[in-house]
């Protein structure tokens, strides 16, 4: 049965006690919007991640290797599919509206997918560094997420992302133990992808971050970012690669790696759809969407199947203000 809360204080007390919000609850609009925007960006990122990798899927070296890569891509697109459904159930946009906003450059996706994978080494770096960063973030969300449908989907996503990361790690190790040309290729990929992967966590969380207050996220950006640095810096240097941070140092006192100051301008540019590959990526996706419109038109039976034909907007309008 749908629940409602008289005041925001009451709602926040519910969240602080570990309460889980469900799709049919009369949640406060700002919470609904915040959860929606967060899940929409996650869904968009799964899809755009698939598009970043698709350039290299047909070139995967090896028949069974290609099957493994296809399985990974299938998972990623499957995640996007599930996430769009969860987001659509919030009643703010249908899946079609979300996709059209994405292809028109009106909504966001993770910074890393505004870059182009230019070599096979980039593909491995994405599977290794970027998937790990995404996994760390998702684990932190899952731990204490107050929105029930998202938390349940994340359980499955995290299990599958764990496999992807191990696949990426396995490929990275083959290269690390491989020929000088392979190692050089991966070092160049690392030079391109280390900072974008690190920037994926975002700048330090603000004290009044509602995502933290409403238990949509459970850990601060800087904590997650540091966890990634402490894992990957020693791993990469251990394999003989150079971490492309000129001020990288080991702090004997804190017993931690410090990558030095972080330039957030590249992240800001991707948020404004001005990343190195944003224009091409979005334009190609939009062009393709347009080229296949006839299929969707022919299959359409009047309802927006993307959101299971459920009209959540009317439900939202009826929701009592809190």
């Amino acid at each position: 049965m749908a629940r409602s809360w008289e005041t925001m204080q009451e709602f926040e007390a519910f969240l602080n006690e570990g309460g889980l919000v469900e799709a049919n609850d009369d949640m406060p609009d700002p919470y609904r919007q915040a959860v929606f925007t967060f899940i929409e960006m996650h869904a968009n990122s799964e899809l755009m991640g698939g598009l970043t990798e698709r350039d290299w899927i047909p070139k995967t070296p090896g028949l069974r290797h290609k099957m493994a890569v296809l399985a990974k891509t299938q998972d990623e697109i499957g995640h996007g599919h599930l996430l769009y459904m969860v987001a659509a159930d919030l009643g703010i946009k249908t899946r079609t509206q979300m996709l059209e906003d994405l292809f028109a450059g009106r909504s966001r996706f993770h910074n890393v997918f505004h870059y182009r994978a230019v070599t096979w080494g980039d593909q491995v770096a994405i599977a290794f560094l970027v998937d790990a960063a995404a996994l760390l973030s998702q684990q932190a969300v899952f731990k204490n997420c107050s929105y029930g449908p998202y938390k349940r989907i994340l359980r499955r996503i995290i299990a599958e992302e764990g496999f992807h990361m191990r696949l990426g790690e396995d490929r990275m190790m083959r290269i690390a133990e491989g020929t000088p040309r392979q190692r050089q290729m991966f070092q160049e990929s690392l030079n391109r992808w280390f900072w974008p992967a690190l920037q994926l966590f975002g700048p330090d969380s603000k004290p009044d971050d509602v995502l933290l207050r409403w238990h949509i996220k459970s850990e601060r950006n800087e904590v997650l970012r540091d966890r990634w640095v402490q894992k990957f810096v020693p791993m990469l240097t251990g394999y003989g690669f150079t971490v492309p941070a000129s001020e990288l140092r080991w702090d004997d006192e804190t017993r931690r790696w410090d990558v030095g100051p972080i330039d957030w301008a590249p992240l800001e540019r991707t948020l404004a759809q001005g990343g190195p590959d944003s224009t091409r990526r979005i334009a190609e996706a939009a062009d393709n969407w347009q080229r296949t419109a006839w299929v969707r038109a022919a299959l359409s039976d009047g309802s927006d199947t993307a959101s299971n034909g459920v009209d959540h907007a009317s439900h939202m309008a009826a929701a009592a203000p809190v």
Binding site: P58, K59, R64, A71, I77, G80, W120, R174, T179, W294
Partner: protein, 278 residues
């Protein structure tokens, strides 16, 4: 026997490869998922068939550390004249409608082709066949479910007819056996020639695309008889259609113009460092 198995393996390999090109750019997410799943199945069939070729040569294939590189050598490392793929799977589709039509034709044919092997005297081939047939049922159901709906809609119908005009002439080549098939027939490795599948495939296509025949977009027998007329304008009319790939009767020894660019693309990483393990 090698040539007989390679013809099937090469078809499966290139068909799976072609499906990978449509992932992420299909009309909706469910189709991206379907093409990645079907692509995996076809590549899996190819790997199993290449393994049988290796076993003919006495290679022990139970250890992937040994069999995977050997499979890759067969899949990517032969000279183009040694491949026995048909032109249908070498062709680079330009529209999703072409990919869908090819998917239906190929999988309808593939199911018939596997059925010829279910009682094979080559026991490992018969066991690969029963696995493959289970998967093929899903592939066919998928293609049929889409076509059921799309053929009801006028614009989609015109686009599918245009795609058929490009794909249909390559179908006789799909049903063309290699010279080595005679040996496979004599030894009971296969119970029929794939040449005999052209007729049931054509009949199935006539039923499947009956709506197109009814509206005059294509004529009966369009598969066996090459390019089909039809008075309406081509729905993908901005295209120049590729050269006519109608039956070349070369025993699958001739590669199409699409093969070399496809193989170069597939080998890009392998060629970057031939000594590397990826």
């Amino acid at each position: 026997m090698r040539e007989f198995l390679l013809a099937f393996a090469d078809d499966e390999h290139l068909m799976g490869q072609q499906h990978t090109e449509w992932i992420g750019v299909a009309p909706f997410l469910e189709e991206d998922l379907a093409f990645s799943s079907i692509g995996q199945d076809e590549l899996g069939h190819a790997a199993m068939l290449y393994e049988l070729v290796l076993e003919l040569n006495g290679l022990e294939t139970s250890d992937p550390a040994i069999s995977d590189p050997a499979i890759d050598k067969l899949a990517f490392g032969r000279s183009s004249s040694d491949y026995r793929s048909c032109h249908l799977v070498e062709y680079s589709t330009r529209h999703w409608s072409e990919a869908l039509v090819r998917h239906w034709i190929y999988d309808t044919f593939e199911e018939l082709r596997w059925r010829l092997l279910i009682d094979s005297t080559m026991t490992p081939l018969a066991s690969v066949t029963s696995k493959a047939l289970r998967e093929e049922a899903f592939h066919r159901r998928h293609a049929n479910a889409l076509l059921d709906k799309l053929l009801e809609a006028p614009e989609a119908r015109a686009r599918i007819a245009a795609a058929l005009k490009v794909i249909a002439p390559m179908v006789p080549g799909l049903c063309e056996p290699v010279a080595g098939e005679a040996e496979a027939l004599a030894e009971g490795v296969t119970t029929g020639s794939i040449a005999d599948l052209l007729e049931p495939l054509t009949e199935a296509a006539n039923r499947r695309f009956a709506q197109l025949i009814d509206c005059g977009l294509v004529t009966t027998g369009f598969i066996g008889g090459g390019i089909i007329g039809g008075s309406q304008t081509d729905a993908n009319s901005s295209d120049t259609n590729p050269q006519d790939y109608s039956h070349a009767s070369s025993g699958r020894t001739q590669r199409s113009e699409f093969f070399d660019p496809l193989m170069t693309r597939m080998r890009e990483v392998l060629d970057y460092d031939p000594t590397a393990v990826w």
